[in-house]
């Protein structure tokens, strides 16, 4: 069904309307959370519910600027530090590793590859207690480093498996030309191969960031102080304490989605490529 011919006329209109129907139905929950965050607490509980806020109310966001235990902007900054740190760590380690796996047939290569694949399927539950003990022993517990180190273990195997395909597809001649120009293996890798594999590196960076940004289990287990916790753990805490303060909760949720939405809007092609190549080819 690959390149089916372009549909015109009446059928085109009907299909477009149906598609918009699907879109509205599936994305309604997202719309709902955004409009709710702009309502007052009273309006949220009104029956029948209003599909659009009577008056745009930014209080739920503004209230967060006062420092309290649940300052969402501080949680946001914490998450940013954790996600960026974990992304950098994952990319720095995974890019050379994927090149090594793609281009060299050393002993133990297959077992390492298998190792990366298996870790991708691990449930966090298996790692939580041992990591908890380890981070306490190395004094990383209750610091952003604990979450950064733990989150990178999700980004690294994903990135290695994705990027390996990019490096494998680069013809050997390009590398050999670099050697003739006086590069050694390491400079050729940095000056020639990485720039060619750049789209792949971007995919890895995005996904490593997103994994860490969305993480809850590591962030809430290894970081105890609310002031240091990532935004996902902040939401969870807030729910526990102020259960039904939906105006604040939805504002919290919207702030959490913003970076994801920006990445989504500007880098959609990388995301789809990452999802499909990562999952199907493994």
């Amino acid at each position: 069904m690959g390149d089916e011919k372009i549909i015109h006329g009446k059928k085109n209109i009907i299909l477009n309307i149906a598609a918009i129907g699907v879109l509205v139905a599936l994305l309604f929950p997202l719309y709902w959370i955004v409009v709710t965050s702009l309502k007052t607490e009273q309006e949220i509980f009104r029956i029948p519910p209003t599909l659009f806020p009577e008056m745009i109310n930014l209080k739920s966001y503004a209230a967060q600027l006062d420092s309290g235990d649940f300052n969402m902007f501080r949680s946001f900054a914490n998450s940013m530090i954790i996600a960026m740190g974990s992304m950098i760590l994952a990319v720095v380690l995974a890019v050379p590793a994927s090149y090594g796996i793609a281009k060299y047939k050393f002993k133990g290569r297959r077992i390492m590859l298998l190792g990366f694949m298996v870790t991708q399927m691990l449930p966090v539950s298996v790692l939580l207690t041992p990591m908890f003990i380890m981070f306490r022993n190395i004094h990383a517990y209750n610091t952003p480093f604990a979450a950064i180190l733990a989150d990178a273990t999700i980004g690294i195997p994903f990135s290695v498996l994705i990027l390996k395909n990019y490096f494998a597809s680069i013809p050997k001649e390009l590398e050999e030309a670099a050697y003739i120009d006086g590069c050694n293996r390491f400079t050729a890798f940095i000056k020639v191969l990485i720039p060619i594999a750049k789209p792949g590196v971007i995919v890895c960076a995005i996904f490593s960031f997103l994994y860490a940004w969305g993480d809850l289990a590591y962030g809430m287990t290894f970081i105890i102080d609310q002031q240091k916790r990532p935004i996902t753990a902040g939401i969870f805490n807030f729910m526990g304490q102020y259960g039904t303060k939906w105006s604040y909760l939805t504002a919290f949720a919207v702030v959490t989605i913003i970076p994801v939405a920006l990445i989504f809007i500007f880098m959609q092609k990388y995301i789809i490529s990452g999802m499909t190549s990562g999952a199907v080819k493994g």
């Binding site: 069904m1 690959g2 390149d3 089916e4 011919k5 549909i7 477009n16 598609a19 879109l23 599936l26 994305l27 929950p29 997202l30 709902w32 959370i33 709710t36 949220i44 509980f45 029956i47 380690l93 050379p96 060299y104 050393f106 297959r110 298998l114 190792g115 694949m117 870790t119 399927m121 691990l122 449930p123 966090v124 539950s125 298996v126 790692l127 939580l128 207690t129 041992p130 990591m131 380890m134 306490r136 273990t153 690294i156 890798f189 969305g214 809850l216 289990a217 969870f236 039904t244 939906w246 989605i257 994801v260 939405a261 989504f264 995301i271 999802m275 999952a279 199907v280 080819k281 493994g282």
Partner: protein, 298 residues
């Protein structure tokens, strides 16, 4: 020295590139996996967690969890949850993939937008559905009442049976884009000529679907289902945020129960044992996946 040089002359130089990442994974994943197995045979409490003597108790933790109703129920819940999510999200995802594979005006743009639910942090998704399924505040109860399907508000998340329904529903919402995009990619690999020659032979749409699409899509379908199983079976964030395993343990999954044992009841060893059971099941399923994917790797 010469030997070292010789070792790094050709292919083994690849090790220099791979080792940093590999060692990192050994330290932060490999060691914890082994450590978790050891922990599950010990008796670890808050007192001896970080240091001190951890007594070996043999299979005691495993024997206890298999006599624990909540654990048995969690296995059953995880299976029900996984299978119901897989079936529904696969069918909807497949239908949408076929639908958006038609080349009409905004097909690709809209399909792109539908990926959004898969991307947002699961904690947020859980919050959204907790809100939608809310008893007094939830729009679902309002909609069902308006349609006359229910007389009074249903307490979705605080009633054992319906709470499971709500978490399944939320997880399907996350899973649809994943299924759709993978199947859509699979569809593009089917050569168009096959359909054309089938048309010439007089095949109808349904026949083409059954005779061409499904068989040629088999590898894709297999990996979508196995991967879907793995991702769904280890669900944690969604259930933990939406219900925390409640009401009365009715939505506990293996992952959430393991978490509760370790980090709420501080029975670390029992929690580890539950996690190992979860891991073992996933490992067996992963074998199927690795078998299909590693063939082409070598």
């Amino acid at each position: 020295m010469v030997r070292i040089k010789k070792f790094f002359r050709y292919d083994n130089i690849g090790l220099v590139f791979v080792l940093p990442a590999f060692i990192y994974m050994l330290v932060f994943v490999g060691y914890p996996i082994l450590n978790n197995i050891v922990l599950s045979f010990q008796d670890v409490t808050v007192k001896n967690l970080a240091g001190g003597v951890k007594e070996f108790v043999g299979l005691k933790n495993y024997i206890e969890i298999f006599h624990d109703d909540v654990f048995i129920h969690a296995i059953y819940n995880t299976l029900i949850f996984t299978v119901s999510c897989l079936v529904v999200q696969f069918i909807i995802g497949f239908a949408l993939a076929v639908f958006f594979n038609q080349n009409f005006g905004f097909s690709k743009v809209i399909r792109g937008l539908l990926m959004m639910p898969w991307m947002i942090p699961i904690t947020v998704t859980a919050l959204i559905f907790k809100f939608i399924f809310g008893t007094d505040v939830g729009i679902l109860n309002f909609a069902l009442q308006s349609l006359g399907l229910i007389q009074e508000n249903v307490e979705w998340l605080t009633t054992p049976g319906t709470a499971m329904l709500a978490v399944v529903f939320a997880n399907i919402w996350i899973g649809i884009p994943f299924n759709m995009i993978l199947i859509a990619t699979g569809l593009t690999t089917i050569p168009q000529e096959l359909y054309e020659s089938a048309s010439i032979d007089g095949a109808g749409k349904i026949q083409k679907f059954i005779r061409i699409t499904v068989p040629l899509l088999r590898p894709t379908i297999e990996s979508v289902l196995i991967l879907g199983f793995i991702y769904t079976f280890k669900v944690f964030d969604l259930v933990y945020v939406m219900t925390s395993g409640g009401p009365v343990n009715s939505t506990h999954m293996l992952s959430t129960y393991s978490y509760k044992l370790s980090f709420e009841m501080f029975k670390y060893s029992k929690g580890s044992a539950v996690a190992n059971v979860l891991f073992l099941i996933l490992l067996v399923v992963s074998m199927f996946y690795l078998k299909t994917t590693t063939k082409e790797e070598a």
